[in-house]
């Protein structure tokens, strides 16, 4: 096995072990979307009428509508959680281990992203299973075709988290990420309401929602869950992934530490 693959598998293995050790994180990751699905959606379904828009071919319940958005939410929170753990890693020093490996830094960071995306995928599939138990089921093939969409969303949002972690100097600043990244990204997207509904209330908000990469990821997941392919959402998601991962790798460039003493390492 090549050195590259050995390192990648070990990084993914460590992410997995870490996840297993943090049971409360797993439970919190599932409780959050389940509350939205079972409580919020129940109250909201009466207030929000949904028309038939692709990929749906018939009237759907509001619970069904928000499932892809909640999948995105799990990935978004997990991406930010990984970012938080990276800041923690850096404060604790274990990030140094990764950065002083003789393998290329971009490869190691990419492996870390892949590891955190895998964790997201496990969480999403468990969520879909529980949603299924409550009667919210997708076409069987949809559970397969959604895999690459979830992986891409995982890399995109994990890349964003990784980039943010290179900017955040202290763990305490993480609350800012919640307020200024997670909430706006989630609420200014098509996760909870279709964009045409948003357009009716505010064209400006609609525009913001439309360019939000999280919207693109959610739409990609939504179509993929119904075995469809949304080319525009895919294109934008790929572009956002490349930009975020590129910024993350730049964020961990050692030369950035030369100008001033940063909290970077």
């Amino acid at each position: 096995m090549s050195a590259y693959l050995t390192a990648m598998l070990a990084i993914i293995w460590r992410e997995g072990l870490r996840f297993v050790h943090q049971r409360e994180r797993f439970i919190a990751a599932l409780v959050r979307p389940m509350v939205w699905l079972l409580v919020f959606a129940a109250g909201f379904r009466a207030a929000l009428g949904l028309s038939i828009t692709p990929p749906y071919q018939t009237y759907i319940t509001y619970e069904t509508y928000i499932v892809p958005g909640l999948c995105g939410m799990i990935i978004l929170f997990n991406g930010m959680q990984s970012s938080l753990s990276l800041v923690y890693d850096r404060e604790m020093g274990s990030m140094r281990l990764l950065l002083t490996s003789p393998l290329p830094r971009w490869w190691l960071l990419f492996a870390k992203l892949l590891g955190s995306s895998m964790i997201s995928l496990v969480q999403v599939y468990v969520f879909l299973l529980i949603a299924g138990l409550f009667g919210i089921v997708m076409p069987t093939m949809g559970y397969v075709t959604v895999f690459p969409a979830l992986l891409l969303a995982g890399l995109m949002l994990g890349g964003l988290g990784l980039f943010l972690s290179s900017l955040i100097k202290q763990l305490e600043n993480f609350a800012g990420v919640m307020n200024f990244v997670i909430f706006p990204m989630f609420f200014l997207s098509s996760a909870l309401y279709p964009l045409w509904k948003m357009a009716e209330s505010s064209p400006i908000l609609y525009q913001i929602c439309a360019i939000n990469p999280f919207t693109q990821a959610v739409e990609l997941i939504r179509f993929a869950l119904y075995t469809g392919f949304n080319a525009a959402a895919f294109g934008w998601s790929v572009l956002a992934t490349v930009v975020f991962v590129g910024l993350a790798i730049w964020g961990y460039d050692p030369a950035r530490g030369s100008k001033k003493k940063r909290g970077l390492l």
């Binding site: 070990a10 140094r96 281990l97 950065l99 002083t100 490996s101 003789p102 393998l103 530490g257 970077l264």
Partner: protein, 244 residues
């Protein structure tokens, strides 16, 4: 003979503040070199530059004959590092920590298992290998880190204040282990410290103060008739009786 570690013209600034000023010294293979300096002397910055955690003004640094600027990954592969702050994952066992590290150096499978067993044995840690790091005391954690730093068979071992926070017994055990690594295995060691009692008479000593090298001699030469501690304190202008 080629130096195992060679540094020349190394300066580093944080904004207007100079952390290192034209640092230069060589360490021959198999030598234990103590980098002695008070807190804030620039030791950690020097380690960050040597391990490429930060880069800056170009300098000539070579590790086991490999130029750090032009071939950083090759140079890192020849270097073992023990950071001042522990970098072990507390929720993993000592063994799992080593497996993870070996893989980061591209070593896996049977080869990794053999090396890990040998390294843990070497540091008398074999019996505790399957305990979670959280359950290990400070001395055992440090030994685990040293065992880990040896897995890829580095020619140069860098330790940044590796005995910080340890009791006197653990401190002297670790110091003895590392001196052994030089004497028996021929590994070159750069040992940052501010404690003169960790240094033997025949060790090379580089005294770093305010980012500058004040002395680079064998310990007994610097010590002269007064002793290393007194010589160090008089050079750095610290009052006698300060923590050394």
């Amino acid at each position: 003979m080629n130096s195992a570690l060679s540094i020349s013209g190394l300066s580093h600034n944080y904004g207007a503040r100079a952390a290192l000023c034209d640092v230069h010294f060589d360490v021959e293979p198999g030598v234990f070199c103590a980098l002695l300096g008070p807190n804030g002397a620039g030791k950690s910055t020097l380690y960050s530059r040597l391990t490429r955690l930060i880069t800056g003004t170009p300098a000539k640094i070579s590790i086991a004959g490999i130029d750090l600027e032009t071939a950083p990954r090759k140079a890192l592969a020849r270097m073992g590092i023990v950071f001042q702050q522990s970098t072990l994952d507390l929720d993993l066992t000592a063994h799992q920590n080593l497996v993870y590290f070996a893989a980061l150096h591209g070593i896996g499978g049977r080869d990794a298992r053999l090396r890990i067993a040998a390294a843990l044995e070497r540091l008398d840690m074999a019996e505790r290998a399957h305990e979670k790091v959280r359950a290990l005391n400070g001395g055992h954690r440090r030994r685990t880190e040293i065992a880990r730093a040896l897995l890829h068979r580095p020619q140069v071992l860098l330790l940044d204040e590796a005995t910080v926070g340890l009791d006197a017994a653990a401190r002297s055990q670790i110091t003895a282990h590392v001196h052994d690594l030089c004497a028996v295995d021929g590994i070159t060691v750069l040992w940052a410290t501010h404690l003169t009692d960790e240094i033997s008479h025949n060790d090379q000593v580089v005294i770093l103060h305010q980012g500058k090298v004040l002395a680079n001699e064998q310990s007994k030469v610097i010590a002269g008739d007064t002793g290393l501690k007194e010589a160090f304190l008089s050079m750095t202008g610290e009052p006698i009786g300060a923590k050394t």
